[in-house]
């Protein structure tokens, strides 16, 4: 059901060393630095994104994810969603406009898996980077590295997936696109969407709360994913796995790590979703194939290495 949540808006990631991190996300991923604030945070965007930033880096002594935010259609929807969250029993926190530069007020809340999320309606519209909005060329020149197209989704690890599902589906209007069920029928992974994408956010069951698995960035083609793999080697960047294909979502993907150990993904393709689609189910016994469709075996590192 449409509740006015539109799409992923931004993610704030903690890094151990800001200079190394900025170099990674700009030179290698091809994101564009758009601002910095007096807390030392750095703001970046991918070239097709119309708002001023989608990635915020914060230097800290422990890597991981501070929060992920979703943009909602307008202020009325934001106020309504805020009331709905409170009514549902979720504690919300007000983050004033301009706490992040050029971003309107944000409504922050935590879910039982131990992760923090935000909703916001306004952010400075800067348009696609390097292109006019009138008679635009196909792409801008001067992009670096992997030329990431957009920040796409995050995967989080934590407990209490059922309670998280209730908040995202019943309160925020997300749909369950894909799931992994164990033999008892308990959902151990959930891929949720508010769009035509196969997922805008995903959760995998894990005992420890609040863990960050990866932030993912979209590329257009399989050739781009291969080129990303080449760049990972050329820059001696820490690789996790790939290029390969997921069973879940069927995306074509490669995983690697930023210099602080946060996992990144770049991917292309994958299935699409309409609200009349029933959830796709993978059985836990097939989890190896569900995650890595070619290897068909579980990779210990993919399941346990988190920030």
């Amino acid at each position: 059901m449409k509740k006015g949540v539109m799409r992923p808006g931004h993610v704030q990631i903690r890094v151990l060393d800001m200079d190394e991190a900025v170099k990674h996300y700009t030179d290698l991923l091809g994101m564009i630095e758009t601002d910095r604030d007096d807390q030392g945070r750095v703001y970046l965007k991918a070239w097709t994104e119309v708002d001023k930033f989608s990635l915020v880096l914060r230097e800290a002594d422990e890597p991981g994810c501070d929060f992920m935010a979703f943009k909602v259609v307008n202020e009325e929807a934001l106020s309504q969603l805020e009331r709905d969250l409170v009514e549902y029993g979720v504690e919300v926190e007000q983050v004033p406009a301009e706490e992040l530069k050029d971003c309107g007020r944000r409504v922050r809340f935590s879910v039982p898996s131990g992760h923090a999320f935000e909703l916001f309606a306004d952010k400075k519209y800067t348009g696609k980077w390097g292109l006019s909005s009138v008679n635009p060329e196909a792409w801008p020149r001067g992009l670096q590295g992997m030329k990431a197209v957009r920040f796409d989704h995050c995967l989080f690890y934590g407990p209490e997936l059922a309670a998280v599902y209730d908040i995202f589906v019943n309160v925020l209007g997300f749909h369950l696109a894909e799931q992994v069920l164990d033999p008892e029928g308990t959902r151990i992974a959930q891929f949720l969407t508010v769009s035509m994408k196969e997922h805008d956010i995903a959760f995998i069951h894990h005992e420890e709360k609040g863990k960050f698995h990866h932030a993912s960035f979209f590329l257009e083609t399989w050739e781009d994913v291969l080129r990303a793999a080449d760049l990972i080697s050329m820059t001696d960047t820490s690789i996790d796995i790939g290029p390969t294909r997921h069973g879940l979502t069927h995306g074509k993907t490669i995983y690697f790590f930023d210099p602080s150990g946060n996992r990144n993904e770049v991917f292309c393709g994958g299935d699409y979703f309409y609200p009349d689609h029933k959830p796709v189910t993978w059985q836990a016994e097939q989890l190896g194939k569900a995650i890595f469709y070619h290897d068909r075996v579980l990779n210990e590192r993919f399941l346990t290495v988190l920030t």
């Binding site: 151990l16 002594d61 005992e207 602080s260 579980l298 210990e300 290495v305």
Partner: protein
């Protein structure tokens, strides 16, 4: 001979680590598996070891995995230490949280 010798006392593996190379990277390049490899960025805590003998420099490491008290006991992340002398290291038993994680993983198979 160039580089420093690293001995993993737990597994008996020995390998050479070049000047400026992390212990984990040196191990990986030789195809050894005596320390678990995670993010290679000091963030995930997967490659934790204890240094029993020798001097080294440290890069930035996540404080959750390596609080200051741990560094004093030589408990550090192999991906973030650079030997200054030959080193003797040992594997650190995984903390309970990590063991719980492994059990979860098994039950998924």
């Amino acid at each position: 001979m160039a580089g420093f010798q690293v001995l993993n006392r737990t597994t008996g593996d020995r390998f050479t680590c070049q000047d400026g190379q992390s212990v984990l990277k040196a191990m990986e390049q030789l195809g050894l598996k005596c320390v678990p490899v995670g993010c290679r960025g000091g963030g995930c805590g997967y490659c934790k070891i204890r240094v029993l003998e020798g001097e080294f420099e440290c890069g930035k490491m996540s404080k959750v995995h390596v609080p200051p008290e741990a560094v004093e006991k030589g408990e550090v992340l192999a991906c973030r230490i650079y030997p200054l002398t030959d080193l003797t290291i040992e594997c650190v038993p995984l903390p309970e949280a990590a063991l719980a994680k492994q059990t979860t993983t098994k039950s998924l198979r």
